[in-house]
């Protein structure tokens, strides 16, 4: 069987599209961003509890008093977790994605129901859309549409489209053939057969499809959050990567609250809009009695509208009176940035978080508007190469991230190292008294269950461990390196430490784990891990041209292990979501540092 180079064809196609249809992607990007920003502005504008109130009134109108109370409680819970803004941005993404999906899916479903050829053609396409892992097109999405909500939005639309189309088609096909014939027999025009008979009768099925679309959109939006779409997905991802169990549970719960709200509301809406559903609920209302009537009480549409409008007006009023600039003023002589936006990207490694938020504070005090975004390494390097990100601070060279540098050689600027040397190592808890160096591991496989807990299989250090280090010390037959993920590795380490079990894991310095746990780096007398790396700042190709001042500041940027660990500790202490304030506090505690990092001439 000859090798079919489908993958490289796809790459060529993506390159071609990128260079030839840039305008189209730009236009799509503008439209989608506009929609998303608009919805997000509306949903995010009111005070959290007011917005929760508005959503609760909607629940009251659609489902009744009990639903409204529960909805308010759930939404208030999200606010108390401090995840309100993230939840609203997730909700906006879901609403925009669902809207676009439905506007496309329902007509496609109708078309497929009326035309067997269309139905046959669509089916495999829908299968691909539904089952192709989203990350496969998230990355090209980043290439076409830049970092931000849009690739996530597109992935969401692609993923949630199939049930919308399928359920619409099914619903229409399910309508009794005799009814369609009856409509024809009375001379109904084809389009009226659709609007007067098929669509009303298919509505319950179509609404089940709508519900599916919205739920799938929510699940995909959370995944897309990991590729820079923001919102609750980013919170979940950040919590997971930092082994922040509490944070993970909270953001996960926030997703659940949104999911339940959306599910129940679309369910109720489907009964509202379909004539048969209206009849069924009218019947149910007649037969209900006592407490059930109170719980199920629903205001009339007019009352509900008044409620929403009043709350919205209150929200608007509060914004007017409570508004006003909260931006720190920048002394005239230090305003180098003149409000220019600079996009800082980072992946959730501690030194990346620390350095990025440090520079965010510094740049803000110099009059820039730093825009900070968390991404995975892959998408981040891609975004830098595309010029959609300006700079990132956590490039481990010449090993860990060398593959990206090789790949985008001409499209990135190395702004120099600011920390080093780093080291890679195997680590054991300090209570493993008789294991001090790699050589000591020999013959102790039984103790460690023959396992070395590794991180992502794709990480450079995993390759080095398997190919060089284990062989050098004769451990390759004895130990098996279990690849997992950084967070899993840390969770395993945490678990073993609590039970005082033997464990050996891959780790690197600098790492906060050394400050948090009592660990011992295994010595490497043979130097098998090779020399340590340095952490570089890497900018986009034209970074030095676009931001000459910042480029020169970053080139002179250096940090000692002591400073870095105290900054990381400060950020760790401040907690998730407060990284910026924590870094600012740390900066304030080091007077003169801003001027040292970002000297202003004259």
């Amino acid at each position: 069987m000859p090798r079919i180079h489908l993958g490289s064809w796809a790459e060529t196609a993506v390159d071609w599209l990128q260079s030839h249809l840039g305008g189209l992607f730009g236009a799509v990007n503008t439209v989608l961003s506009g929609l998303y920003d608009g919805v997000n502005a509306v949903l995010g504008a009111p005070d959290a509890l007011l917005m929760a109130g508005i959503l609760a009134v909607v629940a009251w109108w659609l489902r009744g008093l009990a639903a409204a109370v529960l909805a308010f409680a759930g939404l208030a819970l999200i606010d108390s977790f401090g995840l309100w803004d993230e939840a609203m941005s997730t909700l906006s993404l879901v609403l925009v994605a669902s809207l676009i999906t439905l506007v496309t899916a329902v007509p496609l479903g109708v078309w497929a129901a009326r035309n067997a050829a269309v139905s046959r053609t669509l089916r495999p396409v829908l299968d691909v859309m539904q089952t192709m892992p989203a990350f496969v097109y998230l990355i090209p999405g980043v290439m076409f549409f830049s970092i931000g909500p849009i690739p996530g939005l597109i992935a969401t639309i692609v993923f949630s489209m199939p049930p919308g189309v399928r359920m619409t088609e099914l619903g229409i096909r399910q309508v009794d053939e005799e009814l369609v014939e009856a409509a024809r027999a009375f001379g109904t025009q084809p389009r009226h057969i659709l609007t007067r008979v098929q669509l009303p009768l298919a509505l319950p099925t179509i609404m089940a499809g709508v519900n599916q679309v919205i739920m799938l959109a929510l699940s995909m939006v959370v995944i897309a959050g990991m590729a820079g779409a923001g919102g609750l997905g980013e919170s979940v991802y950040a919590a997971v990567t930092q082994v922040d169990i509490g944070g993970g549970v909270e953001s996960g719960l926030a997703v659940v609250v949104l999911a339940m709200y959306l599910d129940r509301m679309t369910g109720a809406l489907s009964r509202r809009v379909s004539p048969l559903g209206r009849r069924a609920s009218a019947k149910a209302a007649r037969s209900a009695s006592g407490a059930a009537t109170v719980l199920r009480h629903r205001p009339g549409t007019a009352v509900a509208t008044v409620g929403v409008v009043v709350l919205a007006l209150v929200a608007g009023g509060m914004r007017l009176t409570g508004g006003g600039g909260d931006r720190e003023s920048v002394a005239a002589g230090q305003n180098v940035g003149q409000g220019r936006t600079v996009k800082l990207g980072y992946f959730p490694w501690d030194e990346a978080v620390a350095s990025t938020y440090l520079w965010q504070n510094v740049l803000e005090r110099r009059g820039y508007r730093p825009d900070v975004k968390q991404l995975d390494p892959g998408p981040l390097y891609t975004a830098l190469a595309q010029g959609q990100m300006d700079v990132q601070f956590d490039s481990w060279l010449p090993t860990t991230h060398q593959q990206y540098m090789d790949r985008y050689r001409d499209k990135l600027t190395d702004l120099g190292a600011w920390y080093g040397p780093t080291s890679l190592e195997l680590t054991v808890p300090s209570y493993m008294k008789d294991v001090n160096s790699l050589a000591d591991l020999k013959g102790k496989a039984g103790q460690f269950g023959g396992r070395i807990v590794g991180i992502e299989a794709s990480a450079g250090m995993m390759g080095k461990l398997n190919d060089t280090v284990l062989k050098e010390y004769g451990l390759d037959g004895e130990y098996k390196v279990v690849s997992s993920s950084t967070s899993t590795m840390l969770a395993e380490l945490d678990r073993a430490l609590k039970k005082k079990e033997p464990v050996v894991t891959t780790l690197w310095s600098p790492h906060w784990a050394y400050g948090t746990y009592d660990l011992k780096k295994l010595e490497d007398p043979k130097g098998a891990w090779g020399k340590g790396e340095e952490i570089h700042a890497v900018g986009k190709k034209d970074f030095a041209r676009d931001f000459p001042q910042i480029a020169s500041w970053v080139k002179d940027f250096r940090m000692s292990e002591k400073d870095l660990s105290s900054l990381e500790a400060e950020i760790q202490k401040g907690g998730k979501g407060k990284e910026k304030q924590s870094a600012g506090r740390w900066l304030d505690a080091h007077p003169g540092l801003v001027d040292k990092l970002a000297p202003v001439s004259g």
């Binding site: 009794d176 005799e178 009814l179 014939e181 009856a182 409509a183 024809r184 027999a185 009375f186 001379g187 109904t188 025009q189 009226h192 008979v197 009303p200 009768l201 379909s274 004539p275 048969l276 009849r279």
Partner: protein, 345 residues
């Protein structure tokens, strides 16, 4: 001129229908064509329906009667042949013109009622008028009249699934009547109802027909129903019309064994009439003997014949004596098997 004429209608489903029609005209059989992937459903059907007549098409399932009915209003396009409605060829009409004919001239009543479950009884009855664009008030008024006609006044606001089967079919009938269409196509309209209700519905249809004088094509697989309702009956078998005549024609002179085998179960006393069995040549009945009209079913002669020993006088449409019916004649007619058919059997 007849209101509705079918001229050599063919309907063939499946592969190469036109070629199949040519072969059928050339004498090829249905089974031969089936082997080649063509499915002849209706073969060379011709008939005429006069205004105000109930024309029944009787046949077992698969005989092609429903296909034939659907060609009459263009729901199915004939493979060959013409349908003339008031002299106008429906097969040549553009889709929009055809829809116009369906919304004004020809309406239809379905086997399983085909009521729209998302519309009230009144809105169902008003459907045809709504399609035609009749203003809301007027169409509701006319729909309410049609409902009253079928005995459903007061059920306007109900929903179809709240009604019994018979009532639902009355809504179906009201929907067909509301458009004032002259031609009603009824596709096994009473078959889904239980026997007592079916009989009520037949009576109601006959009663309505006396008032309204519609032209009706009625499909059924039940020969008793055909005999009760039909002014003329066409019997279909394997896509062909094998006999077309009055109930009496079919009963007394079945065209072949197939028709004869059907009529064995028919209640002859309700189909045969005094006029058909009377002896016109016999002298007048004795004074005081009962006089009946010529179209009286034999069943209604039992009582007067039992009362007196003598015959009953049959009067023509002018009330003049036309002949007499004796007990013997009635018994002979009821017991009779058509001679030539019996010979074959």
């Amino acid at each position: 001129m007849s209101r509705l004429t079918a001229e050599h209608l063919y309907k063939v489903f499946g592969r190469r229908p036109e070629a199949a029609v040519e072969r059928l005209k050339g004498g090829a059989g249905r089974d031969e064509l089936r082997a080649d992937g063509a499915m002849p459903a209706v073969i060379d059907a011709s008939f005429e329906v006069e205004a105000g007549q109930i024309f029944v098409v009787m046949g077992l399932s698969g005989s092609g009667k429903s296909t034939l009915l659907r060609m009459l209003n263009g729901l199915l396009e004939p493979t060959a042949g013409r349908v003339l409605y008031d002299g106008r060829d429906l097969t040549g009409l553009a889709p929009a013109e055809l829809r116009e004919v369906r919304s004004r001239g020809i309406s239809m009543v379905f086997q399983h009622f085909a009521l729209f479950p998302h519309r009230t009884v009144l809105d169902n009855a008003a459907y045809g008028l709504e399609v035609r664009g009749v203003p809301r008030e007027e169409r509701r008024e006319r729909a309410a009249e049609a409902l009253e006609l079928v005995g459903l006044s007061g059920w306007d606001a109900s929903w179809p699934d709240e009604l019994s089967g018979g009532m639902q079919q009355r809504v179906g009938l009201a929907r067909a009547l509301a458009t004032d269409a002259d031609l009603l196509l009824m596709d096994e309209s009473f078959s889904a109802l239980d026997p007592l209700i079916r009989r009520d519905m037949q009576d109601q249809l006959l009663h309505l027909q006396k008032q309204l004088k519609k032209t009706i094509v009625f499909i059924t697989h039940d020969l008793n129903e055909a005999m009760r309702l039909g002014d003329r009956i066409a019997v279909m078998r394997d896509g062909r019309i094998v006999q077309n005549g009055t109930a009496e024609d079919i009963l007394v002179r079945p065209a072949n064994d197939y028709v004869a085998s059907f009529i064995q179960d028919v209640d002859r006393s309700r189909v045969l009439t005094a006029g058909a069995v009377m002896d016109p040549a016999a002298g007048p009945a004795p004074e005081g003997a009962a006089t009946v009209a010529a179209d009286t079913p034999l069943a209604d002669l039992f009582a007067p014949l039992a009362k007196d020993d003598g015959p009953v006088t049959v009067a023509d449409e002018h009330g003049e004596p036309a002949g007499v019916v004796t007990r013997d004649a009635v018994l002979a007619a009821l017991g009779e098997q058509p001679a030539e058919v019996t010979a074959h059997a």
